[in-house]
Amino acid sequence: MNYLMRRLATFPLVLLGVSIVVFLAIRMVPGDSITAMLGTEAGLLTPQQRDALAAYFGIDQPWFIQYWRWLLGLFQGNLGISSTYGRPVLDVILEHFPLTLELALLSMVIALLVGMPAGIFAATHNEKLSDLGVRVVAMIGQSTPNFVLALLIIYTLSAGFGVLPAMGEFSPLWQDPLRNLGQLLLPAITLGFAFAASVTRISRSAMLDVLSDDYVRTARSKGVSARGVIWRHALPNALIPVVTLSGIEFGYLLGGAVIVEQIYALPGLGRMVLDAILQRDYALVQGSVLFIAFNFMIVNLLVDLAYVALDPRIRLSEH
């Protein structure tokens, strides 16, 4: 509890850091909201026109004043208005977040469902041919760039079989679950492939580690069968590295999978932020990066709490 409080206390600090970095970085990038909207035509604007537009986009003040205003708004729960969407930033983010969350969860589920059994299988068949097979597939999984995989999947399905999940209009889970799952399955597989490969490798090595621990020997001395040793004694102990890895990957995925979202035309957080950067939608970039960072930290916290649940030895007071 105490640990939790202290961890939470560092959140504002880190978020403040993130916000300053993003605030400065996005403003250091050449080009602004005006050129993003008008392109080269922005050169036709008279200085008065330019000022008027700058005021319209709220970029007419020195950056620290802009930051201060933004910060004040933040304390009132107001992240500003997105210039592309014309709506409050938080609304826009929350609209894109469910898809990203769902995609991340689905990828993780796929990764765990495939990766853990594969890793355990490889660990229990250590140095046999089947182990080698699993490891090679896992390594290939880890070494395939996800955009290559995505393009291959789309091309094979559409040109080879004439099928493709519904592109374009995205159905949220609560509106049309079947269609939604259909739309997310392939992206989730694309992301889950490399993820599963990592899970396979880490669960294999964690399992090998744990299987040589003393308490496994104790379990065997009690007459626990090979299966029992693996599932009841070794697995709970081998979970920590798997949870760590999954947590980190999941945290990253919650930031949006830009490339995969782009290829599968999913309106997720990643693409939203990328577009916001390209369109110099400052408020949206700031808000969403902050949101992503917050999620990332929450996930990390949850991973830490999961350690405690998994392993009573871990005392979180000193970390």
């Binding site: 990038v29 050449p30 080009g31 602004d32 005006i34 050129t35 993003a36 909207m37 008008l38 392109g39 080269t40 035509e41 922005a42 050169g43 036709l44 604007l45 008279t46 008065q48 026109q49 330019r50 008027a52 537009l53 319209y56 592309t84 969407y85 014309g86 393009l151 789309i154 091309y155 399905l157 559409s158 040109a159 004439g162 099928v163 493709l164 999940p165 519904a166 592109m167 374009g168 209009e169 995205f170 079947l178 269609r179 799952l181 259909g182 739309q183 399955l185 392939l186 782009q262 290829i263 599968y264 035309a265 309106p267 693409r271 939203m272 577009d275 390209l278 369109q279 110099r280």
Partner: protein, 506 residues
């Protein structure tokens, strides 16, 4: 082992089933056109938007006074008829009495006046304001008639008024300050929903003065990857799509059920030199570059030959045969001589900038040019930048050379006055002007006789290619792909999708 295989098989089958469910074609109402493009509109204020997609979307919702047809001839839109006074200083319009805004109100001369005043107001930041600076005052003798008083004769202003950037918006909405947030136009479709970077839902405007539309509505999806657009068309999820990349577009004809529409556009691919930077300050150096570049090869490689080598004028009615222009046939020997004469026999180094993916051929063009110029000793460094970064550098004139795809207009004056007149807003980008260019442009602006105008601009074209501040390369096509059961789409050189209003699904 048997159990393992069984399990795997089962997983495999479940997976296949889920993909199959996912792949069920979307059964939508037959009268809705499913459309896709890779870049979404960036905003909804017709006076402020210049992005290609924004214009294409807004053209379906808003109407200007007049419109251009496939031959770039001016045809009625909100205005039924129009007339220049003999001295060319008065332009009057009669509005279509049936024209109605989507809120039910009739389009009146007051709306026209308010719209143009909004465009001219510097506080608006309207994109096309520069084209209308000759408007001295606007009279509204009655709700159906409007008269523009011009400070000087201005022929191109009529073409400029055909642009959606000069769309007529309701005076009431201007007063309410809600242009850009609500979309109330007088065009064939109403915007029902817009999720930026995701989709637009358009429904037919039953009250449109132009008559009934061919479809009940248009669903536009944003599919950022054009390969994915093609894949979606193969599986019939998409009826109609806008394509940018010739590499993808050329794949469309290979599909039996798909049809590719292409039309040469007014926009032109160009290598902009910066004549304020050494050694491009030297005429002979610029000319040498012009002679060293094989325009056809740039076109063949970067765009797979999809397009046409062009001079500065891309308007078919005015264009000069490129063969007659300076050094349009590659001449390496001459280029080398010119370099030697300018004192750069050993060549020089320079940087060429381009925008990533804008156009998609930019990087390829730069690479072909780089390889061609290497033959006369010019060592080019390529720097590809994110679009906005590029625009920023471009507007500051902060480059040695730039590959660009610049927009074209139906009138050469509107198209080029910003660059090639002494008062042009983008003189600081063009960085080159001489008296000949300036006077030719001024003459072209006021001349009302079409034949005389053509001669003036032919001279302009000859002169500017000889001065070679820029190396015009080629014009490409605007591509649309459609299922073969879609009928009635008529592509136009401006790229406008306005004819979607009359498209039907069979």
């Amino acid at each position: 082992m048997v159990r393992h295989i069984g399990k795997k098989l089962l997983t495999g089958m479940t997976l296949a089933a889920m993909v199959a469910i996912a792949a069920l074609p979307v059964q939508a109402s037959a009268a809705t056109l499913h459309m896709a493009w890779s870049q979404d509109a960036t905003g909804l204020d017709p006076h402020k938007q210049t992005a290609f997609s924004s214009l294409r979307l807004l053209e379906l919702i808003y109407e200007p006074l007049v419109r251009l047809d496939a031959n770039l001839q001016i045809t009625p839109a909100i205005a039924d008829s129009w007339q220049f006074s003999p001295d060319g200083k008065e332009l009057s319009f009669r509005l279509n009495p049936k024209a109605k805004f989507q809120n039910g109100a009739a389009v009146t001369s007051a709306d026209v006046k308010a719209s143009f005043e909004r465009i001219l107001d510097e506080k608006t930041g309207a994109a096309a304001r520069a084209n209308f600076l000759s408007i001295a005052s606007i009279d509204t003798p009655d709700p159906a008639n409007v008269v523009f008083h011009l400070s000087q004769p201005d022929v191109p202003i009529l073409t400029a008024m055909s642009d959606v950037n000069a769309a007529i918006v309701p005076a009431s909405e201007i007063a309410a300050g809600s242009i850009g947030t609500t979309t109330i136009g007088s065009g064939p479709f109403k915007l029902e929903k817009w999720d930026p970077n995701s989709k637009e839902v358009l429904v037919a405007n039953k009250d449109w003065a132009g008559g009934a539309t061919g479809v009940d509505g248009i669903d536009i999806s944003v599919l950022p990857d054009e390969t994915a657009i093609l894949a979606a068309m193969r599986t019939k999820q998409i009826d109609f799509a806008l394509l940018n990349d010739p590499l993808v577009a050329t794949l469309v004809p290979k599909e039996a059920s798909l049809q590719l529409n292409r039309v040469p556009v007014l926009a032109y691919h160009v290598l902009q030199l910066n004549p304020s930077r050494k050694p491009m300050t030297e005429l002979k150096v610029r000319q040498a570059i012009s002679c060293a570049i094989d325009r056809q090869e740039v076109l063949d490689t970067a765009s797979l030959g999809e397009g046409k080598v062009t001079g500065p004028l891309t308007i078919p009615a005015l264009a000069t045969d490129p063969k007659q222009l300076f050094c349009y046939k590659r001449d390496i020997e001459r280029a080398k001589q010119l370099m030697a004469q300018a004192g750069y026999a050993d060549g020089f180094s320079a940087t060429v900038i381009g925008a990533t993916g804008e156009p998609p051929t930019a990087a390829a063009e730069a690479q072909v040019i780089q390889s061609q110029l290497a033959e006369i000793g010019v060592k080019l460094d390529i720097k590809m930048m994110e679009l906005n970064v590029y625009v920023d550098a471009w507007l500051k004139g902060d480059f040695d050379m730039a590959v660009a795809l610049n927009g074209g207009r139906a009138d050469p004056y509107t198209m080029y006055n910003r660059y090639w007149t002494k008062t042009g807003n983008l003189q600081k980008v063009a960085n080159y002007i001489d008296d000949t260019l300036d006077s030719l442009m001024q003459k072209g602006r006021t001349e009302t006789d079409p034949a005389a105008r053509k001669a003036i601009f032919a001279d302009f074209e000859k002169h500017i290619t000889e001065m070679s501040p820029w190396i015009w390369l080629y014009t490409s096509y605007s591509y649309t792909a459609q299922q073969k059961n879609i009928a009635g789409f008529e592509p136009v050189p401006t790229g406008s999708l306005f004819s979607l209003a009359k498209v039907t699904i069979q």
